[in-house]
Structure formats: C-alpha cells, structure tokens
C-alpha cells in the first residue's frame, strides 16, 4: 500500500504546524477506516503492512498502524530527527497527501458512473418483468384447460383400467402355474448341468405350494415327479460325498443343500453312511494288508488316531451342527453310527495289535495303546452314548491280557530253553572226558537265568501300570490286572507250569530211562526245592511290591505254591532214584541171567559187574553230593563191615542151610526165616525219598539189591555158583554200607540174596568166610 510505504519515513509536521493539524486529523480518520476494513478482512496490522513483524502494531508512532497517535509521532520526530530530516519528511508527507487526494477523486468518479449504469439496468428489467407477467397469466389459463381435459379422459378410461389390472393378475398366476408345470423338466436340467444350488432353490420355492395343493391330481403328479428327481439329485450328491476327494470339507455344504432338499429323518442316517466311509479306515486296512512290512504299531495307531478318530470327530461335530434340531432321535442315530464305525475301527486295530503279539517290545506297544486310548477320549466325550471309550478300554485290557499270556509263554519257552542247555551241557562233558561245568554251577545258571527272565517279564508288564499311561488308572489295571493277571496268571502260572514241566519228566513214556538224563532230574529236583525254600517267596514279594495289589481277589498263598514245588521236587528225586536204581538193576540182572551158574568154576575174583556197580554207586554219590546235603545216618561202629559180615556168614547162614536137605525140612526153614523176618522191618523198596544224599543212595541201593535178590531166586546154582554169589555179596557189603542211612538194611538184603542162592543150590557148600574176605580184599 502506497500509504504504508510513504508512512515509514513520514516526516512529522513541525511543532506548532497548525495547518497540519486538520491534515493530521484526516489521515487519522482514514487510518481508522483502513483499520476497520482491515479488521473486516481479518488481516492483522502487521500483515497488512507486509513488513516482517518488526515494529509493534500498537506502536503509536507507526503511520499506518491502527493506534497511530499523531501527537506522539510528531513529538518523536521532533525529538529524534535533525532538521534536514524533518524537512524531508515534511515534503514527503505533503507529496503523499496530494497523491492520496487525487486517488480519492478518481474513485468517487468511477463509482458514480457505475451507479448510473446500474440504475439504467434496473429500469430496463422492470419493463421486461411486466411482459413476462402477461405470458404467465396466459400459461395459467392454458394449464387449467389441460387439466380439465385430462380429468375428462381419465373418467372415460376408468372402466378399462380396472379390467386390465385384473388381466394382469391372471397373467401372473398363469406364469406361476407354468413354472410349476415346468418344474420337473427344469429340475432335470439343473441336475444334468450340476447346478444343484439352483435345483434346490426351485424345489424350495415349489415345495409349499405343492404341499398345499397335493390333493389335486395334477399337482400330485408334479410333486411325485419332483420327488423322483430330488431323490436322484440326492443320489448324485451322495455320490459326490463318496468319491469327492475332500469329502469332509465339502460335506457340510452339500449336507445343508440336502437337508433342505430332503427334510426327512432317515436322510440323516444316509448322510452319515455317505460320510461314514472314511478313507482313513480304508487306508488303515490297506496298511494292515498282507504285506509283512507293516508300519510299526505306534505309527499305525497314530494314523488311526489322527485319521479316523479325527474324522469321526469332524463328522460328529458337523452332524450335531446340522441336525441339532432332531433331538434325542438324531443323537441316537449318531451314536449308532459312531458305534458301527467304531467297531470296524476296533476290529482293524485289534487285527493290527494281534500282529504285534508276537513281538517282544512292550514299551512300543504300551505307547501305541496309550495313544489309541487317549485319542478315543475326545469322541468318547462327544459321543458318550456310543461307548467308544469303554470299548477302547476293553481292547486295551484284552491286549494286556494277551500280553500276559504271551509273557507266560515266553517264560515257559525260556525255561524249556534252559533245560535244553542243561541237557547239552550234561551230554557234552562225556566227550571231553572232563567233568565240565559242575552240576551246582549248572543249577546256579538255570536259576539265575530263570529269575532274570521273570524279572524282565515283570518289568515289561509293569509298563502297563505306569502312571503316565492314560489307561493305568482304569479299575482293571489298578486291581485285576495286578492281582489276577500278573501275580496269579503270570508268576503263579509260570511256577505251576514249571512244576508241571518238571513233573512231566517223571511220567515220560521212555521209561527205560533213556529219555531224560538222570542228572537233569536231580538238577530239577534241587531247583524245585530251592524254589520251595526261598525263590518263590522272593518272586512273589517282588511282584507284590511292584504291583501294589489293591483288590479283594483271592490270591494263591505262598505256602500252597511252596507245597507244590516241594511235591514236584520230591517226585523228581523219587524218579531219579528209580531211574538210577533201574540202571544198576539192569546191570545186576543181566549178570545173573546170562551166566551159567551150574557149571561155573570156583570163584577166584569178584565179578567185574560188582565192581562196576560199586563204581557207579560212587559216581551217583558224587553227583548227588554236588546238589544235596549229606543227611543223617544211623550210628555205626568203626569197623561195621567186618562185624556184620561175620554175623551173617557164620551164625545165620549156617543155621539156615542146615535143615534144608531133607524132604521134611522146608517147614523148618520157612519157620526160621519167618521168625527172622518178624524181627526185621519190612523193606519198602520203591519208597519216597527225603531230600538228602543218604536217602537217595539208600533208595538206589535198595532197588538194586532187591533186583539181585529176585533174579537169584529164578536161577539154579551149582556149588561154585553159590560161592561166587557169596563173594559178590561180601564185596558189595564191603563197599555199599557207607552210602546208606542204615547199613543193617544192606546186610539184610545181601543176607537174603545169599540165603536165596543157597536155597536154589542142590549142593550148597558155602565158602569159608576167611577165603571170601581174602578174595574180596584182593579184588
């Protein structure tokens, strides 16, 4: 603004410059007017001045400022500026004032011109409006005429309009009917094209009408047609469920469509069936297939769990979402469906688990079962009615039972294996000529091996009751499994079967003694005895500790088992005695039967077979001594052999021979021998033995000597034959007494042998006892 530019160095009017007074006042007013304009336009003083906001807008010395105070300004000029400058500013001021005046004059002039032209224009407009008013009036009259006409026309057309409306209604109805009649073909087309959604929509639209008018034959026909087509449609949809690659994901959509199409209950079942051919089952079946390299059982149950069980859950969830409205009936169906599928799945799982039965790895199986069981808990909660969880538990229990059976078999096999080893070990050392591993060592081996097998089995079975396994807290695993399964079935069962196996050696058909090596009998007998004394109670305590038996089932007490084991041990030992006795008996019998006792020469030696008998008896003594304790014998004198020998050879023998020569004598001999027997105890030959060495050997020697006696009685002896028997018996007596519990027994039996031989001799001249002794000592 020019004013502003000039105002900067505006020369103050000199002091006392009166003309300048009004001059000074005028700009002030103008300034005020400017300020008001500026205020109106929203410009601040400073901005309007265009200067940087240096001077204070309230500065009263600013010429262009709103608060300009001429007095202050003049004062300031007067005080601050030198004269020259005052002069300059005065001239400058004057010039500015002039310029401003001329500007004002020009503006006024221009405004005046414009005002005049505006007045002209308004006058012209006034004329124009008057014209227009006339035309408007004419338009109004015309419009009135038109309205009039129109009213008249519509009055005339009223009738027709009504008829047309009616016709239009009929037309619409006809179109609907046409839709209905065309519905079957449309549906067919839709089905053909695969536009199932469209079809279902059509069907939905027609449904209500058809339902309402189904009493009319034509509508009935249509409805029937529709039903057929929808059935086909449903068929196709089901088809798609079955073969669709992702049946389950598409299922809900289709199901919804179908549900709309066929709102009948039976459909739900069909849907379930359609859904219920999960590929998972089939793939599981395929895995099961005949090819041996099936994936391990853990993998299998994993697949089953994630595939089938997951699928089942999905189906169940989808079903419940879709058919929640069906209430208990629907739930029933779902349960039945789940049960049916579940049973198939379980059948597969069981088949797979059955394959696993042969394997030895329990931990894998238990883990697999655990997963299997765990997985089925979810649907178990979802489908409580289907009882899947129960069935799963049942399967687990069954498997556990089978596992126990398997372990029992394993233990049995291990026991038999041990026996085979022992047999081999017993057969081998004969070749080597050395004693090989001693019986005691073998026994220890067998015992420890069996014990370790039992422990291994217990440990394996223990996995079933581990805390982290999901089914271990089921009542079966807490109670029956521990007591009946493990304790009774496995441990007691094994001990029993062990006893039975051992006993079966006693009744083996090979009674000639060749079947079972006698040492094995002896060893088994000792084993059973050890079981009776310690091992059984140890094993059972171990079992009870590992499996805290909590239930009330009756369990076999330790004492019963011990009694069984003891009985077995006793039978085995008795059988051992029989077998060994038989071996020696056969030797003695052959030696008596094959010899011609009538024509034998005067005895010079003890027969070799008697030496052999003594040798064998000694060997048996050593063998039994390895496993059994000595046992008690009757007190004996230091030189018992000599004393008793003299007794039987001199007094008794002589007394017996003497009267038997005359025909009337038999009475006396019989009487004599009877009287003798009255004083001696009856000898039970095959009597049960006790668990000690002496008893065993007594049994064997009894059997052998009795055989010798019976054989001698069947023969006829010459004089030297008798003497040979005398020598043999003395020899036996010299050596056998030390083995038996009661040496009197040996003497009695040998006495009997010699007496019988004497009776069977037509010429009984006994040998001098001293000669007999010499021969025996020489031999």
């Amino acid at each position: 603004m020019a004013a502003a530019a000039a105002a900067g160095p505006s020369p103050g009017s000199g002091p006392g410059d009166s003309p300048e007074g009004p001059e000074g006042e005028a700009p002030e007013r103008r300034r005020k007017a400017h300020g008001m304009l500026k205020l109106y336009y929203g410009l601040s003083e400073g901005e309007a001045a265009g200067r940087p906001a240096g001077p204070d807008p309230l500065d009263p010395t600013d010429l262009n400022g709103a608060h300009f105070d001429p007095e202050v300004y003049l004062d300031k000029l007067r005080r601050e500026c030198p004269l020259a400058q005052l002069m300059d500013s005065e001239t400058d001021m004057v010039r500015q004032i002039r310029a401003l005046d001329s500007d004002m004059q020009t503006l006024v002039y221009e405004n005046y011109n414009k005002f005049i032209s505006a007045t002209d224009t308004i006058r012209k407009m006034k004329n124009d409006f008057r014209k227009m008013e006339d035309e408007m009036d004419r338009l109004a009259t015309n419009m009135a005429v038109i309205t009039d006409f129109s009213a008249r026309i519509s009055a005339t057309l009223q009738d027709r309009h009504e008829r047309i409306t009616k016709l239009a209604g009929v037309h619409a109805l006809l179109r609907k009917l046409q839709f209905l009649f065309e519905l079957p073909s449309r549906l067919t087309k839709c089905v053909e094209l695969g536009a199932y959604g469209q079809a279902v929509r059509y069907q939905g639209r027609a449904q209500a009408v058809l339902q309402q008018y189904q009493h009319l034959p034509s509508f009935r026909a249509i409805q029937d047609d529709c039903r057929v087509i929808t059935a086909r449609l449903a068929q196709q949809l089901r088809q798609r469920f079955r073969c669709g690659p992702s049946a389950l994901t598409q299922a809900p959509i289709c199901a919804r469509l179908l549900a709309v199409a066929l709102p009948c209950v039976c459909f739900c079942v069909e849907l379930l069936l359609a859904l219920g051919e999960p590929k998972e089952l089939r793939s599981l079946e395929a895995e099961l297939g005949p090819s041996p390299p099936a994936p391990d059982v853990l993998e299998f149950t994993d697949h089953g769990g994630s595939g089938f069980v997951g699928g089942l859950c999905q189906v169940a969830a989808a079903y419940q979402e879709l058919f929640a409205a069906q209430g208990p009936a629907g739930a029933e169906k779902l349960a039945a469906f789940a049960r049916e599928l579940g049973s198939r799945y379980f059948a597969l799982v069981e088949r797979r688990l059955a394959q696993e039965q042969g394997g030895g790895d329990n931990s894998l199986l238990v883990r697999a079962l655990d997963r299997f069981h765990r997985r089925l808990r979810a649907p178990g909660a979802l489908l409580a009615a289907a009882g899947l969880a129960d069935a799963a538990t049942e399967i687990v229990e069954r498997v556990a039972r089978e596992r126990l059976g398997h372990h029992l078999q394993g233990l049995r096999a291990a026991f038999l294996g041990c026996l085979t080893d022992v047999r081999q070990a017993l057969a081998a050392p004969r070749v080597a000529g050395k004693e090989g591993p001693g019986l005691a060592e073998l026994l220890a081996n067998v015992a420890s091996s069996i014990l370790s097998h039992i422990k291994a089995s217990l440990a394996a079975v223990h996995l079933f009751t581990a805390k982290e396994v999901s089914f271990s807290n089921k009542p079966y695993f807490r109670g029956e499994f521990c007591s009946q399964g493990v304790r009774e079935g496995l441990i007691v069962g094994f001990i029993r079967s062990m006893c039975q196996t051992a006993q079966s050696f006693c009744d083996s058909p090979g009674e000639k003694g060749g079947a079972t090596p006698p040492a094995l009998l002896l060893l088994l007998s000792r084993l059973c005895l050890d079981y009776e004394t310690a091992t059984i109670s140890y094993i059972l305590t171990l079992t009870d500790e590992q499996f805290l038996v909590q239930d009330q089932f009756p369990v076999t007490p330790v004492s019963t088992l011990c009694a069984e084991a003891r009985e077995t041990a006793r039978r085995l030992l008795t059988h051992y005695v029989k077998v060994q006795g038989l071996v020696i008996s056969q030797m003695l019998r052959k030696s008596v039967e094959t010899r011609d006792w009538l024509s034998t020469l005067e005895p010079r030696n003890v027969r070799a077979v008697m030496k052999r008998v003594v040798e064998d008896t000694t060997a048996i003594d050593v063998q039994v001594g390895l496993l059994y304790e000595e046992g008690v014998r009757k007190a004996q004198s230091s030189d018992s052999s000599k004393r008793t020998f003299s007794v039987y050879s001199s007094s008794r023998q002589q007394g017996r021979y003497a009267p038997s020569y005359t025909p009337s004598a038999p009475m006396d001999t019989n009487l004599l021998s009877n009287i003798q027997k009255l004083f001696s105890e009856r000898i039970d030959v095959f009597s049960p033995v006790e668990f000690n060495k002496v008893s065993v050997l007594t049994g064997i020697i009894k059997i052998s000597l009795k055989t010798l006696l019976e054989c001698v009685r069947l023969r006829t002896f010459g004089r030297f034959g008798l003497q040979q028997v005398q020598v043999d018996c003395h020899f036996l007596q010299l050596y056998l007494w030390r083995f038996v519990a009661d040496e009197e027994l040996v003497h009695l039996l040998l006495d009997e042998v010699v007496a019988s031989a004497a009776l069977r001799c037509p010429d009984p001249v006994p040998m001098e006892p001293s000669v007999v002794e010499v021969i025996c000592e020489r031999g």
């Binding site: 058909p509 000639k512 038989l582 038997s660 039970d684 030959v685 095959f686 019976e710 006829t716």
Partner: protein, 352 residues
Amino acid sequence: MALGTGWIHIIDFDDENNIINKNVLLHQAGEIWHISASPADRGVLATCYNRTSDSKVLTCAAVWRMPKELESGSHESPDDSSSTAQTLELLCHLDNTAHGNMACVVWEPMGDGKKIISLADNHILLWDLQESSSQAVLASSASLEGKGQLKFTSGRWSPHHNCTQVATANDTTLRGWDTRSMSQIYCIENAHGQLVRDLDFNPNKQYYLASCGDDCKVKFWDTRNVTEPVKTLEEHSHWVWNVRYNHSHDQLVLTGSSDSRVILSNMVSISSEPFGHLVDDDDISDQEDHRSEEKSKEPLQDNVIATYEEHEDSVYAVDWSSADPWLFASLSYDGRLVINRVPRALKYHILL
C-alpha cells in the same frame, strides 16, 4: 537131591467150617515152575518143571493125572497120610527137545481138555492130546523172530472169540496170536517199562486184558487200541508178578507183587458192569427200577479195595477160586499160602 523133586500140595478149604486140609503129591520129575489144571478133567494137570542133568538145567513140560481118591475131592483122608506121599501118574511129555525151555503151559479154556499150548523160549507150540491124553502131538507152532534172544515169559488163552486167541508176553512186549493160523494179530510194544511178568484176559469183556510187570504197574488194555493203555494202576512198590481177573465179577482184579503185598482192586469203570449189577427189567417192580436207576447214577470210582500184607516175602502167585467167586489165594516165597475173602460190604454192594 533137594531140588530134584517137586511136590504138589492139594489144599481143600472148607468154607463153612473154615477147615484146611492138605494132600501132598510127589512130582518126581523135577521142581515145578508152572502148573495149570485141565478145564475138562479135574484130575489132569500140566506142569513145567526143571530137570537138572549134566550140570544143565532144562525146563520141560508134561501132563499128569492125580490119583483117583484125591480127584474126588474128598477130604476124609486123614492128615497123617501126608507122610506117605503119593505119586502123580505121567500121561505124556510135551516133547521140547527141539524148542528149548518151557516157560508156561495153558489149556484151552472151556474146551474138552484136548488142546494145550506151551511156550518154549521163542516158540509157541499148540499140542493135541490124543488117546485120553496119553500122547501129545504137535499140531502147529510159530516162533518169534527178531534180534537178540527172545523169550516168552508168560501167556494166556483168551476165552472169547471161540477160543482162537492167545496172548503172550516177551520182555516188554505183549502179542496176540490166532491159534488157527498161528499168526500174530496184534502187538503192544513197550507195554511196560520193564519185563512183563503176567497177563490175564477179562473173562466177561472182549478185547480187554490186564498185564503187569517189573515197572510196578498194572495196565489194562483194549487190544483194538495198542498205543495207549486204558488204565494204569501203580499201587505196588516192587515188581508185580501176577494179575488175575475175578472169573465172574471182572471189576475185581487181584495182583501179587514181590513187595510182599496182595492188592485187590475194584476197576468198575472198565469192567463189563460199569454201572453196577443190572437186574433184568422184567423181574422187578417199578419202584426197584427207580432205585436201580438211582444207583446207576452214582459215580463209581476205581479204587483199591484192600491191601493184604500177611506175606513176609515176595508173593509169586495169586488166583481166584474157581468154585467161589469171593475167595482167592496167594502164595509167597517163604511157602506161605494165604486164603482171603472179598470184603463182605463190597460183595453185597456188587450183588445188590
């Protein structure tokens, strides 16, 4: 010669008065090892005996006749007559010079006393006795072939099948023979674990026979199934020398053993009367019928009836009386003969 002669003691037992009467007959030919009486003529008997000559023992067999006065069975002959021993009359020898030692002689049961079979070593010989037993003609024979020395130990003639079957024992084997063709019909290998000592046919039940042996067992066989015994008894503690069925009540089985015991067993389950004595339906009223039915339902158990321990030494022979089915005798090494009766309670149980 002490052993050169044998004696035959004929013992009469008067059941009513409990009197025992003894007659001794001299058997001069040698000591007797086996004896059997003719089923047709009570005065005729056959023996196997040892003959010692030239320091050799040979077992021969012969048929003898008892003196007439003893045959009648009269026990009026005074006791003191035993001092003068009478002698048996020799009818004929069974010539075995070609066949070896005679082990036993058996008559055809229920026959006319004309047929006799003897077992000699490994031969089985069938003899025809002709001209009132004065001559024995070897009718047919068969012999056992095999490795080793086979020797028959015992034999029995079956009363069934028209008396055409004989069973023999050698070592551990039982064999059946057809006397018409003299061929083997069956063979039970390893019938016993050790030597078979004796055998006997069930008199009332075809195909059934009992055997005993050195394995202390008595076994019952159905000869149609030779693989398994029907039943096994293991009551004796030493060799069983004899087994005998009762002639009329075949559930009663008698065994004698060298453990000096005689055991009477009741083998009901395999007898011809497994459900007790069945009375004819016509003869009894309905009530009795019911009772007998009830009785038949009772489980009948095989059991040992009694163990007789009167003997002090090995018992080598037991047999039933042919006259009284409830009477039996046993003989032991020491020469003691014991006569026993079946317990009265059992007798009534069987009869009623």
